[in-house]
């Protein structure tokens, strides 16, 4: 089918969104730290925000690689 690779790309993007959500909710959200007194909450919030931003960067990197992989032949045409 003409343009099937774009449908695959949309599907991969969808899977990555769901997987990324799962990672955030089950692994990153429950992280907690002790030993900084009243600063615990602030430090953990900053840490979680940094991890979330890193995840977005990784997501963009992965999408970019997949795009190149799927469309390499198309773009070079």
């Amino acid at each position: 089918m003409k343009g099937t690779s774009i449908f695959i790309y949309v599907f991969v993007m969808w899977i990555l969104i769901i997987a990324g959500g799962g990672l955030l909710v089950s692994l990153i959200a429950p992280i907690s730290i002790d030993g900084f007194g009243s600063m615990n909450q602030v430090i953990i919030s900053i840490l979680k925000a940094v991890i979330a931003i890193l995840l977005v960067v990784v997501w963009i990197f992965v999408m970019s690689k997949i795009k190149n992989w799927i469309f390499q032949k198309h773009i070079s045409n």
Binding site: I6, V10, F11, G22, I28, A52
Partner: protein, 330 residues
């Protein structure tokens, strides 16, 4: 429930027929004032009136005010204010081309009523896994969502009928998703978006009799973004928008900066002798969704539009599946 169904049918009809009846008048007024632009994808010199934003906004405002009169809520008020502010940003851009960064910043400012009226739930709901509470971060997210959805719809408005057809499918999918997650009041408020898009598509499809312009595209996009926030379906709404997100992603990852489409010198698409669309060989030209679709070979404008709409139906189906997954926990 019966009462809400009747209200839904009524505001849908109001939204649809307002745009359906106002747009031909707007076409005449714009043509008379010589507010026309060239349609570059036509063989003969074709001038098309622009912008169609005023009739789109009229359809949204009339129907949402009727809904507000029948079922008053702060959410509808926020929807009306944010959408109107985004329309004004678009209208300013239609009259005078604004810089690359002005639009995102002005659109970010138009999201402020959502924060001031407090019509949001400060956590993100993910399918299968539940939610993350991000009270402070969510405020930043609101500021980001409106410029992203507005500009995303604006960036896909490249061919006759694509932006309005895309929004018709995506917004009706969003309404279905809101019903699935039992958010009936916001589902009602979302109905006019699909109806105005559908009515406008009648005049925007190939060959276009009017272009939505920035005012039309930003109005549709920002209303969609606001519905995602007040309906608490941010992830589902993002999934329904995936083809447009991909278009923006491809564009930004190839030009590597925020820039107006009009400022791009190398065009991603050129014409064949029989005036079909063809992907350019120019390595400096940005990669876009249309260019990728055309990498299979030249196509007519109508054919490319249908590929994008098929892709939108596919992502709308994924969004509906995502909404069902919201109800499941692993």
């Amino acid at each position: 429930m019966l009462e809400k169904t009747i209200i839904g049918l009524m505001i849908s009809a109001i939204a649809f027929f307002t745009v359906y009846s106002l747009t031909p008048i707007l076409i005449k007024v714009l043509t008379k004032r010589n507010m026309v632009v060239k349609d570059y994808n036509k063989k003969t010199d074709t001038m098309v009136p622009r912008p169609g934003g005023p009739s789109i906004l009229a359809g949204i405002l009339v129907s949402e005010f009727v809904l507000y009169a029948l079922l008053p809520s702060t959410e509808i008020l926020a929807l009306i204010i944010t959408t109107t502010l985004a329309f004004l940003v678009g209208l300013a851009d239609d009259r005078k081309v604004l810089g690359g960064w002005f639009k995102p910043l002005a659109l970010a400012a138009s999201a402020i009523p959502i924060i001031l009226l407090g019509v949001y739930v400060p956590h993100l709901e993910f399918p299968l896994f539940g939610q993350v509470k991000i009270p402070e971060l969510y405020l930043a997210l609101i500021i980001f969502i409106i410029p992203i959805t507005g500009n995303t719809i604006n960036s896909i408005d490249v061919l006759n009928g694509v932006a309005s057809g895309f929004m018709t499918i995506a917004s009706f999918a969003l309404t279905i998703c809101l019903l699935i997650v039992h958010n009936y009041d916001i589902a009602l408020a979302s109905l006019p978006l699909g109806c105005v898009s559908l009515a406008f598509y009648k005049y925007h499809k190939v060959p276009s009799r009017i272009f939505p312009g920035d005012s039309g595209a930003l109005t549709l996009g920002s209303m969609y973004g606001t519905l995602a926030i007040i309906g608490h379906v941010e992830i589902v709404a993002a999934v329904a928008l995936l083809p447009a997100v991909i278009n923006s992603f491809l564009f930004l990852s190839s030009v590597k900066r925020v820039i107006e489409h009009r400022q791009i010198k190398a065009k991603p698409v050129v014409h064949t002798e029989d005036f079909r669309l063809m992907a350019t060989n120019d390595k400096l030209a940005p990669v876009t969704l249309v260019r990728l679709i055309l990498s299979n070979g030249p196509m007519t404008e109508k054919e490319v539009g249908f590929v994008i709409l098929r892709l939108t139906i596919f992502s709308a189906a994924l969004a509906i599946i995502t909404a069902f997954l919201m109800e499941i926990r692993v």
